[in-house]
Symmetry: C2
Subunit: 247 residues, 2 copies
């Protein structure tokens, strides 16, 4: 039965420290939870849902063994949820083993230099999944891919995109054979990317852009042509526009 | 001097009801506040800032008459701010008179059907400003353009984009002479928009897309080509990709 120990445990998982210690993360909402279950990329340990949700999804849930199911009341879900409007289901999943390398040959790979906002990171992962970009490299200063806000804004795409956290400079140097495009305020038009099938595409921080050290490793700067007055674009929007321009 | 009455007043402005009653809204952070001041599109009534900020910007502030300046302490700013990490300045601006019509001839106009998330609406306004799209039409069910989260995510672009709230169906019928493209999951490739100089581009709700009634008024459906698995794109990202494809 659902009790205070569960509440405390799940609340602790809102913090990276405890997610790391327990090697788990939380996901909320029918779409995200079912997509993560369905992918079989992540093992579900515990699932907390309203009675109605459990009966509606009984058949689906039978396919997955080894997880504990808990019926919770509205007010209990509210306590463990990180959403302002709690959904009807919250699940605790085991993290995957961190990847050590990524295949970059013949592929488009996204490289994120300090994307700090969890919503932006999640949205970028979701957009990459839309455009069939399978791999993302993140600097250590990026938001945690298991942050609940990242998980929510991926809308389930977390299961289909592989993410490597690494020292960007060293990693870019190791992959010097692949052409590197850096998103910048001044550079060649993104139409340069048309037809490109193999590349590393570097997106920078929300406020500061790409760090100097990383920028020096890029082969070419690319820019989304500006026709108006805004000083910059939101990082997730910029990443989306660039991804749409590739290939 | 800054007092409890100010605190209560500004906290009340986090709610639409009180923004409407007072015909004002709040903006936070150096960039947003200075851009709104600089635009002279909005009249600032009151400005609350840390002492240091006030002296750093004394010269700039002298250019604007008629506003009350208040030096506040960190903890006071925290009380009135809606940001998790309060910035060093918060200002109360008068709203503009709502626009009644928009010039659409020879222009690209964005039409938003129930964009509910304030962050998405603000990001779309900012992106429109980047691409030189001057006008946006919002259904009444869209987020309020003066919601603090909208204002923050526009990053100052609120001053440069004109927004009309209206009954979308009636408005689209009145503007039947202008070609209407609707963002949809199945339609022609967004490359259709290349070279287009006059159009209404309709973007739908985060979860449900464009309503049936509005969709029926569209001339053509357009789709961002999908090469991967994600079911959909974030609304602000989709709007950004479509705007980047126009013209």
């Amino acid at each position: 039965m659902f009790n205070k120990t569960h509440t405390k445990y799940i609340q602790s998982l809102h913090h990276k420290k405890f997610r790391d210690e327990n090697a788990v993360f939380i996901a909320e909402g029918t779409k995200v939870v079912l997509e993560l279950l369905d992918s079989r990329e992540f093992v579900c340990q515990q699932l907390f849902a309203l009675n109605e949700w459990l009966s509606d999804h009984a058949k689906t849930l039978q396919q997955y063994s080894g997880m504990e199911l808990f019926a919770v009341k509205d007010f209990e879900l509210e306590k463990i949820s990180m959403l302002t409007t709690p959904n009807n289901v919250l699940a605790v999943f085991k993290k995957k083993e961190p990847v050590q390398t990524l295949p970059v040959k013949g592929k488009i790979t996204l490289v994120l230099d300090t994307i700090q906002d969890p919503g932006n990171l999640g949205t970028i992962i979701r957009t990459a999944d839309w455009f069939g970009i399978e791999n993302i490299v993140c600097s250590h200063a990026c938001a945690d891919m298991y942050n609940p806000k990242v998980v929510q804004s991926t809308m389930g795409s977390l299961a289909r995109v592989t993410i490597l956290y690494t020292d960007l400079e060293a990693w870019l140097q190791e992959n010097s054979a692949i052409k590197k495009y850096a998103a910048a305020l001044h550079g060649k038009n993104t139409s340069e990317l048309r037809g490109v099938k193999e590349a590393l595409i570097i997106i920078g921080n929300e406020g500061r852009g790409i760090s100097d050290a990383v920028m020096q490793l890029a082969d070419e700067k690319i820019t989304i042509p500006k026709r108006g007055e805004a000083e910059s674009l939101n990082a997730a929007v910029a990443a989306g526009i660039i991804m749409s321009a590739v290939g």
